[in-house]
């Protein structure tokens, strides 16, 4: 009865017209528009990350073929404390591991086709340009004229601010024994390190490689309180370090190519979170009843969504995610490390990483989709999901456990430990954590997955 026809003409036509006329004033709709204009900037920030996570079905072709380094700088510390690593060879011709490892690495760098330009420096009170021949001579024959010792923050400051601006990767080879001028300054070592690098490039990443070598010479401990120096050292191997500094992207590639095969330990700071080629393999290593929901029409195709038909604790479903980790530093390619650290994040307790295996000859030659991957992560699902759930297979950037073992608070008796190493690396972590949405802030790599009921 009270249909639209009953509404008076005035209300239906004249009022909206009046509203249109009044729209020139500062009205509620303007306020709303302004709010709309403001809100996207607030909410958009997490959005690109999400979009990047969810919408990348096609695994990107590995960029291994296009890796190139426009410039690599090598800095070798040649102060008196390094003399024990590079003793002048006597008649017995004993060489240290340092000499073998470093000269081998230098030669590998010199020969590498991917590096366009190399520069070599000895670190005295300032970096002195050297040639490959002279530097490798120094490593082999020993330091003839030791330079005055330079503090670690000073070296870092110089390298980070003067030798990285042109997109170069810089490698510092040193024992990284940093003794603050006053013993009371020890708690500020992390701040000193962070300050030294703070004004460097925005996308700075640092990879730390710890190696050990025998040592024939005088050892200069960081804490000079008890003993000034330890002559005729050392019965035990002594650590030295190679720090790789540079733009995050290049450091990542440098780690994966030129720092391969080094013995010892490594830690990485500020690397961007990588999206590695990945997919759920529909036929490889499977158990239980599930299928790849986004596989499409091709038989045996891979995808990123797992539809679970049935799963229970007694009869779990297990699926395998293939990953190509060739682009990552060697540490993150170790199956044991991955097994320990890979986690599955999401709103479920019923899906867990069961095991991580490296590719074998059999998988490489299989001709199936598994041939494209270097690692296989088995995920066990012990319950049918009630609804669609987004999961993330992530490798969190935890500080490696070796750092604590290699750290000492008193190095007056030299051993395979470095004074306050953990503080130095804390400084790196503190500085580089917030910068990239990558290592230390969160993850080394992320793989988005979906599980859903059938």
């Amino acid at each position: 009865m009270f249909g639209p026809m009953r509404i008076p003409f005035f209300v239906r036509h004249a009022l909206p017209a009046a509203a249109l006329l009044l729209a020139g004033c500062y009205s509620r709709s303007d306020i709303q528009q302004e709010q709309q204009a403001e809100t996207p900037t607030q909410t958009e920030k997490p959005a690109p990350a999400q979009a990047a996570e969810t919408s990348k079905p096609a695994p990107k072709a590995p960029a291994a073929a296009t890796v190139g380094f426009p410039r690599v700088n090598v800095f070798l510390e040649v102060s008196g404390s390094m003399q024990g690593f590079m003793p002048a060879t006597g008649a017995d011709a004993r060489t240290t591991q340092f000499q073998q490892q470093v000269s081998e690495w230098l030669s590998g760098l010199e020969r590498d086709q991917r590096v366009q330009q190399r520069r070599y420096f000895r670190i005295a009170d300032r970096p002195l340009t050297d040639s490959y021949r002279a530097l490798s001579e120094t490593v082999r024959r020993g330091i003839s004229q030791p330079a005055k010792s330079t503090s670690i923050p000073a070296i870092l400051d110089t390298v980070a601010n003067r030798y990285l601006n042109d997109g170069a990767v810089s490698v510092i080879i040193s024992d990284f024994i940093y003794s603050p001028e006053r013993p009371g300054d020890v708690p500020y070592i992390n701040t000193d390190i962070a300050d030294a690098l703070a004004r460097s490039r925005k996308d700075l990443a640092v990879s730390v490689y710890g190696l050990t070598s025998d040592f024939h010479g005088t050892y200069y401990p960081a804490m000079k309180g008890r003993v000034g120096k330890v002559p005729n050292c050392c019965p035990e191997p002594v650590p030295y370090y190679m720090w790789v500094l540079g733009p995050a992207e290049l450091v990542g590639q440098f780690d994966a190519s030129l720092m391969k095969g080094l013995p010892g330990e490594q830690a990485h700071f500020g690397l961007p979170a990588l999206t590695v080629p990945n997919s759920v393999l529909s036929r490889y290593g499977r158990k239980g009843s599930w299928f790849v929901a986004d596989a499409g029409k091709q038989a045996g195709a891979s995808g990123h969504t797992v539809a679970v038909e049935e799963a229970s604790v007694q009869e779990p479903a297990e699926f395998v995610v293939g990953l190509d980790l060739n682009q990552l530093p060697e540490l993150f390619q170790t199956p044991a490390y991955l097994q320990k650290n890979l986690t599955l994040r999401g709103n479920t307790t019923e899906a867990k990483v069961l095991k991580v295996e490296a590719a074998t000859e059999a998988t490489k030659r299989s001709g199936g989709p598994e041939a494209a991957y270097t690692h296989f992560v088995t995920v066990r699902v012990t319950g049918k999901p009630r609804s669609e759930q987004q999961l993330t297979l992530a490798l969190p950037a935890a500080r490696p456990t070796w750092v604590e073992k290699w750290t000492t608070t008193d190095d007056s008796r030299p051993g395979p430990q470095t004074f306050a190493l953990s503080r130095q690396l804390d400084g790196l972590q503190k500085l580089l954590a917030g910068r990239q949405a990558g290592t230390n802030a969160a993850d080394v790599l992320r793989v988005p997955l979906t599980i859903q009921p059938d």
Partner: protein, 130 residues
């Protein structure tokens, strides 16, 4: 349409092995379903319209002849499942034969149901099968 065929063929449970479910749902079910319907209709047209209306063949209109056509339809329905699955490169499993059997059953059912309509269009066989 996919959903219809999926419902039709999953009355015996979801495809086995489960890794091949997407291929069955996306490709094989619609294919065998449409082929089944098409071949059933073609055989009915042949029996009721071609043979028993336009050609007026007088000796092929009895229920026994209708049963021969039905049997032919059932066999074809069974064979097309095996052929379709073979063509899709799926992991082999005895489920295929259960699916073929089910398709044969549906072929018989469709043939009977559509006969009730088609016999009204026929001249010689308007009372076949009953």
């Amino acid at each position: 349409m996919k959903g219809f065929f999926r419902a039709l063929y999953e009355v015996i449970g979801s495809p086995q092995p489960s890794s091949e479910v997407p291929v069955y749902r996306e490709v094989i079910f619609p294919n065998i379903g449409l082929l089944n319907l098409g071949i059933t209709l073609a055989l009915l047209v042949l029996f009721y319209l071609v043979i028993n209306r336009w050609m007026r063949v007088a000796t092929f209109s009895r229920p026994s002849h209708w049963a021969i056509m039905l049997l032919l339809n059932v066999i074809i329905a069974f064979v097309i499942v095996l052929a379709q699955v073979n063509g899709q490169n799926v992991v082999s499993h005895s489920y295929v034969y259960w699916l073929a059997l089910l398709n044969a059953l549906y072929a018989a059912l469709f043939f009977f149901l559509f006969s009730l309509i088609f016999r009204k269009l026929s001249v010689n066989a308007s009372t076949t099968p009953f």
